[in-house]
């Protein structure tokens, strides 16, 4: 959706030289990492819960058609109107058309990564509909005119000092004290009346409950209730992988989600929506719409290598623990979703040809899978993209050629031995002091660190002349 004109490498280089960004990333991911570790340690059956979560997700993925139809039936019975969108464009068109039909001048939005993925903020702006982001972090993103850089903390690329400046410039009655509370109050003053005067509210969903047709959204600010109650129309957009059979399954996953995301035991607010306002209700929307979005998901279902990605509950733990994400933040990835999960998902949405850098931007260290609450084998999936890219001929010719030569040589021990000895002699020449500070062909390494000169002859040569052998 958002792939910018700069290459991944160029975006990464820009991010790597921004000390304020690094400070902001370190603060948020550092805290998240510590809190998650404590929450997991305090939850004695975490492994069992993780296994259960994984099985719930896999079960739904196995029986998608069944639960989708059950959900639709029950949602309609509750008075909701259900729409199906197979692409991102179709999804945002449905939402914009509904807003137009409701004659909406102003819409309020509750943070939803799916909304970002289908390009909803842009589509609303382009349709001339005033969009009010009610999540504090999304409000900051909107003020800054940029995009979310993290799926849980969209404005994590901003330090609180920067946010304070932004509020002072744009809020009608900005804070005077430099405290978080004063800043939150400033945002509240700015947003409160807009909450109440919106015509349509748009939210996402963390879970779709098949047996009742209800949707469930979690927030830490309570903005979901406030946003979705006053307007005449409420629209929920959700990816079809959000389905669960029933409430206990949603709670089983919620326990994993919250601990993995913020390290809390439970989210501050867990909001359920089931149909529009009913006779006798004090408030609620007159019309309640649910837009079920495919956008690549059934394609993932069909492909062995990507199916497991449908388990993702968007907790963000993989990126919080990723050494690459922690150096450059989310924007460098160029897609809606950053970090390890984003590097798996973005090629699904934007095509591998334009995004093949992402699956390579990973050391395959496995930490992401270790912390993933539904045990998604992210390194395996990333390597799967590399494999695909190789088979489709998208990898650079020099790489393909080099690997071919290498395999040819490594299949012929005598040539390999000769090559190794020559390489060792060559390195020895450049590293007479014991270290190589620069050498043609080794620039990517020696730009940043030294390379040790080889000890001398190769192990195989020395062993062949009898060294180390015992009778």
């Amino acid at each position: 959706m958002h792939t910018s004109v700069l290459s991944f490498r160029a975006r990464a280089d820009v991010a790597l030289t921004d000390p304020t960004l690094k400070l902001a990333i370190d603060r948020t991911t550092g805290t998240a990492e510590r809190k998650r570790a404590a929450a997991v340690a305090a939850f004695p059956q975490f492994d069992a819960a993780r296994d259960r979560g994984k099985r719930i997700k896999d079960h739904v993925i196995e029986h998608f058609d069944h639960y989708l139809l059950e959900f639709e039936r029950n949602a309609i019975a509750s008075g909701a109107q259900v729409h199906w969108a197979s692409t991102a464009d179709e999804a945002s068109r449905i939402v914009v058309d509904l807003c137009r039909k409701a004659n909406a001048k102003r819409v309020t939005r509750v943070k939803s990564m799916l909304g970002e993925a289908i390009g909803l903020p842009h589509a609303l702006d382009a349709a001339g509909i005033e969009r009010v982001e009610t999540d504090l972090a999304e409000h900051i993103v909107q003020l800054g005119g940029d995009r979310p850089s993290h799926i849980v903390w969209p404005s994590m690329h901003r330090t609180r000092e920067q946010v304070s400046e932004m509020f002072k410039q744009s809020h009608r009655v900005p804070h005077r004290e430099e405290t978080i509370e004063a800043m939150v109050d400033s945002a509240r003053r700015e947003l409160r009346d807009k909450f109440l005067s919106a015509d349509v509210s748009i939210s996402g969903a963390n879970f779709l409950l098949a047996d009742t047709g209800a949707t469930c959204t979690v927030t830490n600010e309570g903005n979901a209730e406030l946003t979705t109650s006053p307007p005449r129309m409420h629209i929920v957009t959700a990816g079809i992988e959000k389905l669960v059979p029933s409430l206990p399954h949603a709670f089983a996953l919620l326990r994993l989600l919250v601990r993995s995301a913020t390290g809390a035991d439970v989210t501050q607010y867990t909001t359920f929506h089931c149909g529009p306002k009913k006779p006798g209700d004090l408030d609620g929307p007159e019309e309640f719409h649910i837009v079920l979005v495919d956008n690549g998901r059934t394609k993932m279902l069909a492909e062995a290598g990507l199916r497991e990605m449908l388990r993702c509950i968007r907790c963000g733990a993989c990126m919080n623990h990723c050494v690459v994400f922690r150096q450059m933040g989310g924007h460098a990835y160029g897609g809606t979703y950053p970090g390890p999960m984003g590097a798996v998902l973005t090629p699904v949405f934007d095509g591998l040809e334009k995004t093949r850098d992402l699956p390579h931007a990973c050391t395959l260290n496995g930490k992401c899978q270790e912390v993933c609450p539904v045990d998604i084998p992210l390194p395996t999936l990333l390597r799967g993209w590399r494999d695909r890219s190789w088979r489709e001929g998208l990898e650079p010719a020099a790489m393909r050629f080099g690997m071919g030569i290498f395999t040819f040589v490594a299949s012929r021990p005598r040539i390999y031995r000769l090559g190794a000895s020559m390489a060792v002699r060559m390195l020895g020449l450049f590293g007479r002091s014991g270290w190589i500070r620069s050498m043609p062909g080794l620039g990517a390494w020696t730009a940043h660190r030294d390379f040790p000169a080889p000890e001398g002859r190769t192990f195989m040569a020395r062993y062949a002349s009898g060294e180390g052998q015992r009778k």
Partner: protein, 249 residues
Amino acid sequence: MPRVALFVTCLADAIRPSVGFAALKLLQDAGCKVEVPMQQTCCGQPAFNSGDTKDAGTLARRFIELFEPYDYVVGPSGSCVGMTRAHYPEALADDPAWAERARRLGERTFELMSFLVDVMHYKPTGVRFPATATYHDSCSGLRELGVFEQPRALLGAVGGLEMKPLEGNDVCCGFGGTFCVKYPAISNAVVSEKAAAVQRSGAQVLLGGDLGCLINMAGKLHRNGSPVRVYHAAEVLAGMADAPSISEK
């Protein structure tokens, strides 16, 4: 006496043969009959991680044929052993008979320190290395093979060696095989943090079980002018750490 094939690994062969000789000595001391199959080359990990599964499969078949005759295969690297144990079956998934052979051989293939402790119940005796040291847990060994306690148990038997904790001991050093040359700037940012953590630990020596990561960290420490010495743990355990370390000459 088990017949063990030493899987030397490319980096130990070319850059630091003393790691190979240390592994050889430790296995002999632990009571193994050690052989070095002279036809061995590379395990194919660079090809596999680059997405070149076909070439990786070619090298995997070679490796399997060459090492199958032995009771055990042991290598001084979590990442190379992880490739053969965890990833050969994936690289050969298209060919069930070979994938099965890979799995069978994988069950008999071990990272050096886990083999010494878990299979041979070995404990070094009479080894001294008076220094303060800290330990980096390389990712493949740790997460693919569960190597964590074994090096600590072995190093605990070394006289004069005092271990200091390393902040983020299980965090990737930024090496990642070809990653470090594909994305040098990102890799550098990661290893810079690692080098800073090593220096903060106050240890004189950095130890680990994977030469790729050790060379990466040593290279950064040396560029920074740090006096920290870097060894593969096998060199210390074999009493061969009197030679110059990776980070000094």
